[in-house]
Amino acid sequence: MATNDLKLLGGWFSPFACRVQIALSIKGLDYENIVENLNPKSDLLLQSNPTYKKIPVLIHGEKTICESAIIVQYIDEVWKNNGTSSILPSNAYDKAIARFWVSYIDDKFFNSLRFGLFAQDDESKKKYFEELEEVLLKLEEVFNELSEGKEFFGGENIGFIDVAFGCYLSWLRVKEKFTGTKKFDEAKNPGLVKWAEAFSAHPAVKGILPETDKLVEYAIALAQRLAAAAAADAAPPK
């Protein structure tokens, strides 16, 4: 029985649910992990997130909190005395910078990765993966600037950007398997290569990121579903 009355409605395949799990892990919090199948969406999901009908949802007693970045901030604020340091930086400017980059990652990085992975034609794939490379060059710069020689975007401790970006690592490994190119180019992104190792090995992260092979299977099934849907859309009306 979870002492804090915490439930996470999530899914092992979801980088967004992983963020919440890592945040809870950083704070040393027990919770009930409810895996949402999404096919069909459960009543619990539809009731607790009527606006987006998406995971993750954190259920804290009677309260439901949605949107992974918002949930992480909630956890950081409610349990600010747990864990060795806060997930978000303490000063307002650094917070703003962290929020800016998490927003950038969820927009530019996420979209070029997922559109690249699931693009129906080779030309689109190429275009999206080229964009992805540029985004990674930018994030390499950001890492070098913000880490100040330490292991993480957050410095000595994992922070908001680490948690947000780090949860995409499994999907980057899926891309590795699909395309045969390494998730981070060692020549162009040496900082990110080291960061990925440090992040994956961090005690709060261990066991949370899904295994690559399992995720590859999931991704293949998802790609098939998306291709079928696209074909259905393109087919002439009967």
Binding site: P50, T51, H60, K63, I65, C66, E67, I70, I71, Q73, Y74, E77, V78, A92, Y93, K95, A96, I97, R99, F100, S103, Y104, K138
Partner: protein
């Protein structure tokens, strides 16, 4: 001595969010209006990623993205707080602020298109407004997530005075008292806040500006039709 600069565009809903927030808190700043066809070197230096307004520069340190800036201002100058004290209420306010921020561009698409695409865009705007009307708590509170102006209201503020300008030009009306009674009240309450009332771009100038923008959009739309 604080050095605060804002790079904005007088007609931009996103710039206005920053101006309203600074004014609400009584913070002084230098304002630079940008000509987006001819961006200043300072703007490009301070926002190399998106090259967009608004940008806030506080003692030489730049911040971009309107709602990131608004939260920064709220945390740095705590008078007239835009977020509640309670963590859960804060999470709800951030949720609605994010929803509104994400949907704002989409809500304006009816202004860019005509014909069938416009009809679809009008429907999408109505759907988004319906979510805000029914789910954001406006039935219980005067503002979104509270009885005083907050983060989500700042995000939505453009709907109170810029949306009507776009509506006037295109010939639609979204927030009627019958269809959206809560939002209808919200618009009135929002515009009655003295700081907001006194910091709106002049109506006629805005109409002129958006009339020109509409011509540009229609020209682009017909260009697509003929190819």
């Amino acid at each position: 001595m604080e050095d605060i600069k804002v790079f904005g565009l007088w007609s931009s809903p996103f710039s206005q969010r920053v101006v309203w927030t600074l004014k609400l808190k009584g913070v002084s700043y230098e304002y630079y209006d940008e000509d987006l066809a001819n961006k200043s070197n300072l703007l490009l230096q301070y926002n190399p990623i998106y090259k967009k307004v608004p940008v806030l520069v506080h003692n030489g340190k730049p911040i971009s993205e309107s709602m990131v800036i608004v939260q920064y201002i709220d945390e740095t100058w705590p008078q007239i707080p835009l977020l509640p004290q309670d963590a859960y209420e804060r999470a709800k306010a951030r949720f609605w602020s994010k929803f509104i921020e994400e949907k704002s561009m989409q809500m304006m698409e009816f202004f860019i298109y005509d014909g069938e695409r416009q009809e679809r865009a009008i429907k999408e705007t109505l759907d988004i407004l319906r979510v805000i009307e029914n789910e954001s708590g406006l039935s219980e509170k005067m503002f979104i997530c509270g009885n005083t102006i907050g983060l989500a209201d700042i995000a939505l503020g453009w709907v109170a005075h810029t949306l009507p300008v776009m509506e006037e030009i295109v010939g639609v009306k979204f927030i009627t008292i019958d269809a959206f009674p809560h939002l209808h009240s919200w618009v009135k309450n929002f515009l009655e806040i003295p700081v907001i009332k006194n910091n709106l771009p002049p109506h006629e100038k805005l109409v002129e500006y958006f009339r020109e923008r509409r011509k540009v959009f229609l020209a682009m739309a017909s260009h697509h039709h003929h190819h």
